[in-house]
């Protein structure tokens, strides 16, 4: 079933609604067979971008190129797209089979072909036995899979996923993430995933474009975006981040930099930086909770006190307070740490675990 995927290029598309710029000129290249996530809070422009690709909105500037063909002026039905909506958007007046076959019918294929193809699609999502059922007889997860089968039945060039798993409960959502990903890989179909769920973006996509206020802040592989966030917004949107401000003190060993943290005069954290840092420069460091390590107080970069400990199933979450640091510090640990009776601990991190954040755009 694998066929050569089709690349998608967004070339300077922008959009205003009623004088408000909701999407700044945006360039994105999505490679054939790639799954790109547009991740951001609501109102960041990710849905507008998707709607422009789908053809529901016309961009004010720029063009959309699917497989070398400029589709900017084409209506949605001429763009060879498949789309899955958050609420599944199944036609309530048609059976499951008719839903899946709808796109084929619109393309004028005959009844026998339609039945064969829609059966194959339903088999792919393991719902073949539900062909004649009414849509409302299916569970949320099943409806979701019917929507996917329907979107893929016409062998579209691009698959658009608009918060596709948002309405499912947590367990089902995690299962569907893998299933959707597997099908997408198998069909090698270029896909755009719009989501505000960082975990979904991290799990499912080849690359993530983090958006904020109508602009892409950072594009990269999930691990890049997670481990090397460029701004405070990105670091905090993709999970939890402990953010420290400080001043570069001196160059450390092996290319690391030593930063004096504002919180405590003795606190000297180490970090790597992509480019040399000038001594005396003000910097903002981000450290993920799972990268913080509890040590005896005198060995820590920063001294803190455990305020709360929460068991979260697969890990323990510590909430700590440090003198001179007004934000709570979070630390995730696989094991329960043995603490001194007064709850005083030192916190430290490896230089590669701290990221120097850039200024907000």
């Amino acid at each position: 079933m694998t066929k050569p995927g089709v690349p998608l290029r967004l070339d300077g598309i922008s959009k205003s609604f009623g004088g408000t710029l909701v999407l700044e000129p945006l360039d994105l290249d999505i490679k054939e067979g790639e799954m790109l996530a547009l991740l951001g809070p609501s109102g960041c422009g990710k849905t507008t971008t998707l709607r422009i690709i789908a053809g529901f909105e016309t961009p004010d500037t720029g063009s959309i190129v699917i497989g070398g063909r400029d589709v900017t002026e084409l209506p949605p039905n001429k763009r060879s797209l498949g789309m899955v909506f958050q609420n599944y958007s199944l036609f309530p007046h048609m059976s499951v089979g008719e839903n899946v076959a709808f796109g084929l019918k619109m393309r004028g294929s005959n009844a026998a072909d339609r039945t064969r193809q829609s059966r194959a699609m339903l088999e792919m999502v393991r719902l073949a036995q539900y062909e004649d059922h009414a849509v409302h007889q299916l569970s949320g997860g099943q409806q979701q899979r019917v929507a996917l089968a329907r979107a893929l039945a016409t062998s579209p060039a691009i698959l658009l996923l608009d918060e596709p798993l948002g309405a499912l409960d947590k367990n089902l959502r995690e299962r569907m993430q893998f299933e959707l990903r597997e099908i997408q890989r198998k069909l090698n179909i270029t896909s755009i995933l719009v989501t505000h769920d960082q975990e979904e973006a991290l799990t499912m996509s080849d690359r993530i474009a983090v958006m904020r206020r109508g602009a892409v802040v950072q594009v990269g592989h999930p691990t890049d975006v997670y481990d090397r966030p460029r701004t405070r917004f990105v670091s905090e949107f993709l999970g939890t981040a402990n953010v420290f401000t400080g001043t570069v003190a001196q160059a450390g060993d092996a290319g690391a930099w030593i930063v004096t943290l504002d919180a405590q005069p003795h606190a000297q954290g180490k970090t790597f930086a992509p480019e040399p840092l000038a001594v005396g420069r003000r910097v903002t460091l981000a450290v993920r909770p799972e990268r913080l390590v509890i040590v005896p107080p005198r060995d820590g970069v920063i001294r803190a006190m455990v305020k709360d400990l929460v068991f979260r199933g697969s890990y323990f979450a510590y909430e700590l307070v440090a003198d001179g640091h007004d934000q709570p510090i979070f630390l995730y640990s696989q094991t329960r740490q043995i603490l001194a009776e007064d709850g005083r601990v030192g916190l430290t991190w490896a230089p590669e675990s701290a990221v120097v954040l850039g200024d907000e755009a």
Partner: protein, 286 residues
């Protein structure tokens, strides 16, 4: 341990009990059911020569009256279809495109219902008459050489009817269309359907409940309306409702009028029965 006290709060909370319906039941019984029953008795005179069903026989066998009955249904049907054709686009526009102007459009749609039928009908007479605005305009633009007599034709009746009836159609359809998720239409577009086929395959079937309700309302109301026919028809259109009016005013044959009224009543009841049946069939999928 004391036995658990039954919790009063477990009873479902209701603001009003069934007894709150009593006033309206009483009102309808006195002012609706009793007159209807009286009408039924009046239409079936016991001691007369033609028998109990005399008036009904006359109505359903005499060629003249059968013709009027058929014309009544024809007028209602044409007015219904015209209202549908005029009303659907308005309803669609209201729901899909009007946005914050929705309220304004609803106001203008409903406004004909708020003006007196006499005023409204005379307004049309003025507009459509030989020396009215329509003829003056058409003459000025040179589209016609002599004034039309549109005010005295059946077209005037249909214009007048549609004017009053379109609100029922628009409101019935728009309330159903509101529940049709716009994303279903977008889905159809992405799946390869053009605007027309999206409408035919998705929007239209999903708004069929509104169409049925609107059509039946308009049909039933047209069947019973006579002032529009009287004032705009110029005698060109003769319907059952007009005939009832004439029975009262000129011949004073109250029994016959009652029989005709009951026939209209039956038609209305059949229509609502049909609506109930249709909606129960299509309504479950939601």
């Amino acid at each position: 341990m004391p036995p658990p006290v039954p919790r009063r709060g477990l009873r479902p909370y209701r603001l009003a009990g069934p007894s709150w319906c009593l006033p309206v039941v009483f009102f309808l019984a006195v002012f609706f059911v009793v007159p209807l029953a009286a009408n039924l008795l009046r239409s079936a005179p016991a001691g007369e020569a033609g028998g109990v069903l005399f008036y009904y026989e006359k109505l359903l066998t005499d060629g003249y009256y059968v013709g009027i009955l058929l014309e009544t249904l024809k007028v209602a049907l044409v007015a219904t279809l015209a209202s549908l054709v005029v009303g659907y686009p308005v309803a669609y526009f209201m729901v899909r495109h009007a946005g914050r102007w929705n309220g304004v459009i609803v106001f203008f749609v409903v406004v004909p219902l708020l003006t007196s039928i006499i005023m409204r009908t005379f307004g049309w007479r003025v507009l459509l008459s030989r020396r009215g605005l329509l003829n003056a305009g058409l003459l000025d633009w040179g589209l016609i050489t002599r004034p039309t007599d549109i005010a005295e034709t059946s077209i005037a009746v249909y214009i007048g009817l549609v004017h009053v009836l379109v609100p029922f159609m628009v409101l019935s359809i728009s309330s159903v269309l509101q529940g049709v998720d716009v994303r279903l239409e977008e889905t159809a577009r992405v799946l390869g359907a053009g605007r027309l086929r999206t409408f035919l395959h998705v929007t239209l079937p999903l708004s069929v409940d509104g169409i049925v309700t609107g059509c039946i309302l308009v049909f039933v109301v047209t069947n019973g309306s006579f002032l529009t026919m009287l004032l705009l028809g110029g005698g060109k259109i003769n319907t059952l409702a007009l005939l009832i009016y004439q029975q009262f005013v000129t011949t004073q044959d109250v029994g016959f009028a009652a029989a005709m009224g009951n026939v209209l009543m039956l038609v209305a009841a059949l229509c609502f029965g049909m609506q109930y049946w249709l909606l129960r069939r299509t309504g479950i999928r939601r």
